[in-house]
Amino acid sequence: MKNIFIIIIIAAFGVMLYPLFEDFSGNDELSELASFYAQKENVEKVNSANLVTAVVVTYRGLDTLGEVTILFLAAAIIAFSLRKHSVERDLRRNSEIFKTASKVLIPIIMMVGVYIFMNGHLSPGGGFQGGAVLASAVILMLLAFPNIPFNSKLFAYTESISGLVFVGLAAIGALIGSGYLDNAILPLGTFGELLSAGAIPVIYSFVGLKVGAELSNILNEFQSVQSDN
């Protein structure tokens, strides 16, 4: 009886969404907004090869600011609602091979993360993905060496300084350039090089550092409330 009710609700939802499916006949050309972004003179104004990055960082940069704020709030709530308590845990020792391999892998993973967020304007990638990869290096460290003291102060400082620099760069764009989060405050450079696209690599690097530090803090909070069972 209850299941029938649920099926009716889901079917109603499906009917509600069905026009989206029916009217869709496969796009043949870009929408107006996207073709505005893809025109040559507009691309050269931003000079970023990856148009998604251009949309995320400059055109819709305020959304990114809100997103980073939401992530920061989530991290703060998690840190607030998890009560830390020190327990003595009876962990099995890690295998020696895994320890050695993670010693070799951690710097390489960090390098890959830095590559991903520095090349956000040339390749798929950017601050959020690079930050996630940096956080995965931290989580590998926590897994392999659980008794190394985790310096959460360092991560908190990194996070707040990166956030301040991000907002400051955006405001400088409003002061010198044409608007908030304008990327033309640095010389634009030639199209398709690493040092091009004005302030986009710098902004995305700080976004990456901030996201990486936030995610590392979240994961460390989760790690620190584990207990034996």
Binding site: K84, S86, V87, E88, R89, D90, L91, R92, R93, S95, I97, F98, A101, V104, L105, P146, N147, S224, Q226
Partner: protein
């Protein structure tokens, strides 16, 4: 030359197929891990090498991928095998010898004597 690279890629794909067949056929966890690790590693490496022959301009990232797969794949299978051993998953009935079980008890006692409590109990926070 491009054709040669493509054939190497096909060979790698066939090794991946063998890995999945072996995964279905083998009788217990350890043998499945054996088949899984070896055949998938060689399959992936051969596919990537074949692609590097087809397009020589891409070889930088492909070499990095190969090194990465060769580094991580044996380690993850080693960790899985260790976990499977410690949660005492059963062997197949055709297993002939288990040396680890014989020396496990002795070695554990030795470890405790040698390293004291800190080897077994890690203080976290």
């Amino acid at each position: 030359m491009e054709l040669f690279g493509a054939i190497i890629t096909l060979l790698g794909a066939i090794f991946l197929l063998i890995a999945s067949i072996g995964l279905v056929r083998m009788p217990d966890v350890y043998n499945r891990l054996q088949v899984g690790t070896k055949a998938t590693t060689l399959g992936t490496i051969l596919s990537l090498i074949g692609l590097a022959i087809v397009i020589p301009g891409w070889s930088g990232k492909l070499i990095l991928l190969i090194i990465f797969v060769m580094m991580t794949n044996p380690v993850s299978s080693h960790v899985l095998a260790r976990a499977a051993y410690y949660i005492k998953l059963p062997y197949t009935s055709r297993t002939v010898v288990d040396k680890l079980k014989v020396s496990d008890k002795v070695l554990n006692v030795e470890m405790e004597k040698r390293y004291g409590l800190e080897s077994k109990t890690l203080k976290v926070k």
